[in-house]
Symmetry: C2
Subunit: 405 residues, 2 copies
DNA sequence: CCTATATTGTCCCGGATAAAGACAAAAGGC
DNA sequence: GCCTTTTGTCTTTATCCGGGACAATATAGG
């Protein structure tokens, strides 16, 4: 039951019904392709006549195309409909401190070329220039991908959803930076920019099929920082300043270790990669002492390898992180009660080692038996969730529900 | 940007546009009454002809009525439209351990009779009988209120939103209890039942005017327990099992005092009335020792009175609670980024004493300057937020946006 | 009192849409 | 060759928004 926003509503006009039904049809084709007009009509519970009209419009707009004719046990054979994803591509960009990843994908998120990387320039203007150059080259090198419909950029920081400015990206050291318009000018393409946690959550919702596409979800990315994106009723939870979802800075213990945000005892201070490595090297989490050269050169992947090799201290460090991960997940579960949690980040490579600890910790604090059992899905690094998120930034709006009432 | 729920969508039919526009008109009348057809047309940016048709339907359904003619500097005088709230009433019920409150109100939440109370029976079946009897008497005693359209019940516990069963109400000691159907049978009226935090949030959103009706909000009720309700995009955040919003059991410190939920260090364990009183009486929060007879007879109102009288220990206890209240609010602000926070409960009687402490603590952990400044509104006990919430349970659905796509 | 002007509310017609059903097209079985 | 089944298109009808005309009502000014 939704209240109508009386400061910002949209009257239904003559075209509204058509718009709604066309978008439903488009989405059913997206999730069920290949599909015939007759099947569409059955799913939508309308007459085939209506579907014919809707599909004709979608064909004319080149949003779908007619493919092969299918098989039927009797009667006329159906002509299959598909989303027009040929000749329509998206460039996805994932900017992080360590490196920047790029990918060309189609509108449904399927990669059209191997993932590439480039160095991340710390100076925003130089970064935009380098990025634009790289994107143009990428597009030229892949003419088979077809016309690029836009660039999606995932950023480890807060983005103003109205102006698209980067308000603050702590790890990059960017504050109040505008890159979307500069990038759009340099490439001549529309640019969508969003916080990476929110982008990941968006992709999980839009690219899921069947059961997984249902219900609310939270995406938790465990990396240098903790990125969280929340989808409720098919929408990103943004809040007033588009900074909702910062569960990384909800405390586990208000007098816990110091966090990069200035507060103490944030979840992030317990489970970031730095926190896990610090535990292994015996660095004082609470005071945040100097980082040794040895630790500097050591990655979370190295630590996981040592844990698999039987290194007791590595195992202990991982298990401690796992426990705190589970305790924090319980906070999300109690606050949002999502249907599913997605976990990404380097640490999922050790999921088989930590899963039981995570679940136990979560069960400790989850309020109800149902809550304790909340499904957890691991998103492997090889799935490039942030790049998929960046694709979704461009692709999802084309399939979104029309705003009405 | 919303994703269409493909398992549960609604096609637009011939009547859909009309349904949408009629509901927009109804809501504009609700928030702007008295209002003329011509003004409605201007607000909706449609021709007056369309409004005439919509309003005629609303008149026929007895949802609005034509009142006096207004004044105009020139030209034909407008006939004002009003929501039909005469002859349509709601019975609101707020069940709590200590007592049960009742009120008769009109559809817009305006009280039609003084609030009444009755004892709360601990046995559900007996409670339903007593409640039904009391409600029938209340309706008989107030024939001027008009036909009762339903009973709204606010409960300090978790309610299954599908079946309307009370899953667990810890303070009442109820577990898996069904009272809505029994109450409906006994009274012959439709019954809506909901968690009191969610009901309060619903009322704040639906009964607000102007600026206050905009944006997302969270309602925090500080009492025996901590009830939280969250409204995002005009909808209650329910989650999968209708238990979302339990920020009361998000920790401030995982090794903090024991909480009634079984976990330790929950926000509730720091700021519930019991926690504040325990601080005053020097009772060990961490171990949760026995409650002295003196403390048993002492209420939070008594403590506030002593603080106002200059009792240093009372002031300290209140300030400690205020600080923890602010720290927990920061969690909500970081997680949801609402436009406004509403605070209810007995402690708001001391708001002038604790406000600065609350805001300082909130600022300590809020992530951005904007976040720190999140508006806080105090809801006095005399406004009976839970009763208003119970009214909203019955009234709001009549004004809700039609579910489409 | 009459006229011009302004405002409100109603009515009618045209174009767009969904609903229902008829019809053509296509394929297999007897 | 005819019947049945299935797909997809086309036509008709009722509903609804969009636009404009028009009546009703009130004020200002001569």
């Amino acid at each position: 039951m939704r209240k109508i926003d009386l400061e910002n509503f949209r009257i239904a006009t003559r075209g509204t019904s058509r718009e709604i039904n066309r978008q439903i049809a488009l989405n059913l084709i997206r999730t069920h392709q290949p599909i015939s007009r007759a099947d569409l009509a059955r799913m939508m519970k309308v007459r085939r006549g209506v579907v014919t009209v809707l599909v004709n419009e979608l064909l004319e707009e080149r949003k779908v195309f007619e493919g092969t004719t299918g098989e039927a046990p009797r009667g006329r054979k159906p002509t299959f409909l598909y989303i027009e994803s040929r000749n329509r591509s998206v460039v996805a960009v994932d900017i992080r401190v360590s490196r920047t990843w790029l990918q060309v994908a189609d509108l449904l998120g399927r990669p059209l070329a191997p993932t590439e990387t480039m160095a991340t320039e710390r100076e925003p203007k130089r970064m935009v220039q380098a990025l634009a150059k790289r994107i143009m080259r990428l597009i030229e090198e892949h003419p088979e991908a077809g016309a690029c419909e836009g660039i999606g950029v995932a950023i480890p920081g807060m983005v103003d959803s109205r102006t698209n400015r980067i308000i603050h990206a702590p790890t990059l050291g960017w504050r109040d930076v505008e890159i979307d318009q500069a990038l759009a000018r340099a490439t001549g393409l529309p640019v969508q920019i969003e916080n990476s946690g929110k982008a990941c959550a968006l992709a999980q919702m839009w690219m899921a099929r069947g059961e997984e596409a249902q219900g609310d979800l939270a995406f938790v990315s465990v990396s240098d920082g903790i990125g969280v994106g929340i989808m409720i009723r098919g929408e990103i939870v943004r809040g007033r300043h588009n900074i909702a979802g910062e569960f990384g800075h909800v405390p586990l213990s208000i007098d816990g270790p110091r966090c990069s945000c200035g507060a103490t005892g944030c979840w992030e201070a317990y489970i970031s990669n730095l926190a896990t490595l610090s535990r292994y090297f015996g660095r004082d989490l609470r005071e945040g002492g100097p980082i040794s050269a040895e630790m500097q050169a050591f990655t979370i992947e190295d630590l996981i390898a040592r844990a698999r090799g039987g290194d007791g201290r590595a195992i202990a460090a991982l298990q401690a992180t796992a426990r705190y991960l589970g305790l924090g997940l319980a906070s999300i579960v109690n606050a949002i009660d999502p249907s599913r949690l997605y976990i990404g980040g380097e640490i999922v490579a050790a999921w088989d080692l930590i899963e039981s600890t995570v679940r136990e910790a979560m069960a400790e604090r989850a309020l109800t038996p149902h809550n304790m059992m909340t499904e957890i899905r691991v998103v492997a690094l090889s799935e490039y969730p942030r790049l998929r998120g960046a694709v979704a930034l461009v692709a999802a709006p084309q399939f979104a529900a029309p705003a009405v009432a």
